[in-house]
């Protein structure tokens, strides 16, 4: 290497000593230790709210109200789990979340894959226009009220699952990621399929989709997690408690407990303990936390996929 032939300089971070072992300047070593400590603190601060939540879920209310619970459960208590899990509405709303996620993800994927595939064909006439009408919606939109009038009055979707899963079905970001994936799809495969007599439909369903499983899995996860976590459209369009997703169940519980809510609904609020809130929150995040280690990789690759060509 070139560096070996040069005389050592004191200001070079990594200096080769006479015996050939790589040594670092003192300043850089201090920096590295400080860097590692700061990053460790970042991890602790990120995790703390979750650990605190778990501790509160397993503590008794008295200790929480006294401000004694941090990382370790005080007055160990699992009865609240039985109370929350015994609430029929909780299960019902959990089931709704599952239903919304499955139906919503299916609609989103159907729209995104077909749109992205058509846009990825270089010979599509009017391609610029069809890309443009999608991209423009990222920077300008109709706003809350026109959307509300469309969905609630014009389409009459109040208290309907469609109000929750349809209006946000297409993410332009996901569309562009898929489009760039399909653009890189080996053209030879499709040409060979076309010569063998497959139509566009045949090529898409029998060649392209089966060979795109990785990107389809990533996009499915993107949509599924977004739908699982969403609450606002359900909050806006659904009035019937038995139709709520679990996020709205949780939102109403927290609002009733802390009085962040508007005056009307706060009237029927019973004092809901921090313990019950913690248990409900924990049960709501549990599926995501359990899946997280396995799905994180796909998410990162999805974001990267969108950026590789930039």
């Amino acid at each position: 290497m070139v560096t070996e032939a040069l005389p050592a300089r004191p200001d070079i971070a990594r200096v080769r000593s006479e015996n050939g072992v790589i040594r670092e300047s003192a300043g850089y070593r201090v920096f590295r230790v400080a860097n590692a400590i700061v990053l460790l603190l970042v991890c602790i601060v990120t995790l703390y709210p979750f650990l605190n939540l778990v501790a509160k879920a397993f503590s008794s209310e008295g200790y929480i109200a006294a401000g004694k619970v941090n990382l370790i459960p005080m007055g160990f208590n699992v009865d609240t789990f039985a109370v929350v899990l015994g609430d029929g509405m909780f299960w019902r709303n959990y089931g709704n979340t599952l239903l919304f996620t499955v139906v919503g993800t299916f609609i989103s994927m159907a729209l995104t894959t077909t749109y992205a595939y058509a846009l990825s064909r270089p010979h599509l006439k009017g391609k610029g226009f069809f890309v443009g009408i999608a991209v423009f919606t990222m920077f300008f939109g109709g706003g809350l009220i026109p959307n509300y009038i469309l969905v609630a009055s014009f389409l009459g979707w109040r208290n309907s699952i469609w109000a929750v899963v349809v209006p946000g079905a297409l993410s332009v970001f996901n569309l562009l990621v898929m489009k760039s994936f399909f653009e890189n799809f080996p053209a030879e495969l499709e040409e060979a399929a076309a010569i063998d007599g497959l139509s566009t439909y045949g090529i898409f369903f029998r060649i392209v989709l089966p060979l795109s499983k990785a990107v389809l899995a990533t996009m499915t996860l993107f949509y599924a997690v977004a739908q699982w976590n969403s609450w606002f459209s359900a909050f806006l369009y659904l009035d019937n408690k038995s139709l709520f997703p679990v996020t709205v169940y949780l939102r109403n519980l927290i609002a009733a407990a802390t009085g962040t809510q508007d005056a009307g609904a706060a009237a029927d609020a019973v004092q809901i303990s921090a313990n019950i809130q913690s248990v409900t929150m924990l049960l709501t995040v549990l599926p995501i936390i359990c899946l997280y280690p396995f799905i994180q990789r796909y998410f990162v690759s999805g974001v990267m996929l969108g950026s590789v060509k930039g």
């Binding site: 070139v2 970042v42 077909t114 010979h123 006439k125 994180q296 950026s307």
Partner: protein, 326 residues
């Protein structure tokens, strides 16, 4: 937010491939294109219909900002009233309170939440142990996957009178502060929670950009005697500048819309004087008080500012540093 951010690169990526289809004689006519590719066009029917109904119809629906709207009447309103509704909010003192709250909260979020992922990405990049790096990444991405309802719930618990933050305050001899009832604390709480939620995930694109910097540049700089800081300043930062600019432009474009859902979940009437922003105000007057036209006028005002900001930032960036969204 990071999802819209990442887009940038996806949008700019389009530039490279420009295979335009031409027949031997010149441009393909629509008739021939449809005859040849009609199956492909059938793929476009549903998505384009979706965009028309759920994106462009509401855009047209904005005309009710200029028309009197009656529930049960036409969804495009009944009669023209010009700028009446705009005058209504421009002369309303409460509107200006929420307007400046929005600018302050959005500005603070931008100033604090934009640079921190860059710093974190640079710090992660200095780690020698790839195992530790992976652990830090995995942990710091976690909040991104949480529902806003959960995040708001955690914030309310931590800031409550018996929450951890007040335990620390009391441990140092202070008196417990009811943070979510004190207007002066809202911005701090909101921005902190925003940092907690977005800083880790925000590093992904920077870490990707960092891997594309040529190692030979560092080698050359070391030979010239550049120390670690000088290498960071003269090689690393210029190397990730296009990514930084694109994300900055997008953040500027969305800053009037400040995390509507989170603010809505965190705010309460006691702290409206700092915690009420345009989007939550228009939600209250529009949905809860059913003043549809008035709220639409406010929404249109906000959307136009957002569009102007993103176009302005984009054109400044193109002229100054040559980076642009399209």
């Amino acid at each position: 937010m990071s999802e819209t951010r990442a887009i940038v690169t996806a949008v700019t990526g389009r530039r490279g491939r420009r295979a335009r289809s031409r027949t031997a004689g010149g441009r393909l006519t629509w008739r021939r294109a449809l005859a040849r590719d009609w199956r492909l066009y059938t793929f476009l029917i549903l998505p384009v219909l979706f965009l028309l109904v759920f994106r462009y119809v509401p855009m047209i629906g904005n005309v009710i900002a200029f028309r009197r709207f009656r529930p049960g009447g036409s969804i495009l309103g009944d009669e023209w009233v010009g700028f009446t509704y705009f005058q209504m909010f421009i002369t309303n003192a409460q509107f200006w309170t929420v307007f400046w709250n929005t600018v302050l909260l959005g500005g603070l979020t931008l100033i604090i939440c934009f640079p921190l992922p860059i710093v974190l990405a640079l710090m992660l990049n200095e780690l020698r142990s790839s195992r530790f790096k992976r652990i830090v990444q995995t942990i710091s991405y976690l909040p991104h996957f949480m529902s806003i309802v959960i995040v708001a719930g955690l914030v309310l618990q931590l800031t409550s009178l018996t929450g951890t933050i007040n335990q620390i305050v009391e441990a140092f001899g202070g008196a417990a502060v009811p943070f979510m009832q004190r207007p002066e604390w809202f911005r701090t709480v909101y921005v902190s929670s925003e940092v907690w939620q977005t800083v880790g995930w925000g590093t992904i694109l920077y870490l990707a950009a960092l891997t594309t910097i040529d190692d030979q540049l560092y080698e050359a700089a070391r030979i010239d005697g550049a120390n670690r800081w000088q290498q960071t300043w003269h090689i690393t930062l210029p190397g990730i500048r296009p990514t930084m600019m694109v994300l900055l432009i997008l953040n500027i474009g969305s800053f009037m819309a400040v995390g509507f859902e989170k603010v809505l979940l965190l705010q309460n009437p006691l702290i409206y004087s700092t915690a009420d922003v345009i989007s939550t105000y228009l939600y209250r007057v529009g949905i809860q008080s059913a003043q549809f036209s008035y709220a639409t006028a406010i929404g249109l005002f906000e959307a136009v500012i957002g569009l102007v900001l993103v176009l302005g930032a984009n054109s400044i960036s193109r002229r100054l540093v040559g980076t642009s969204l399209w």
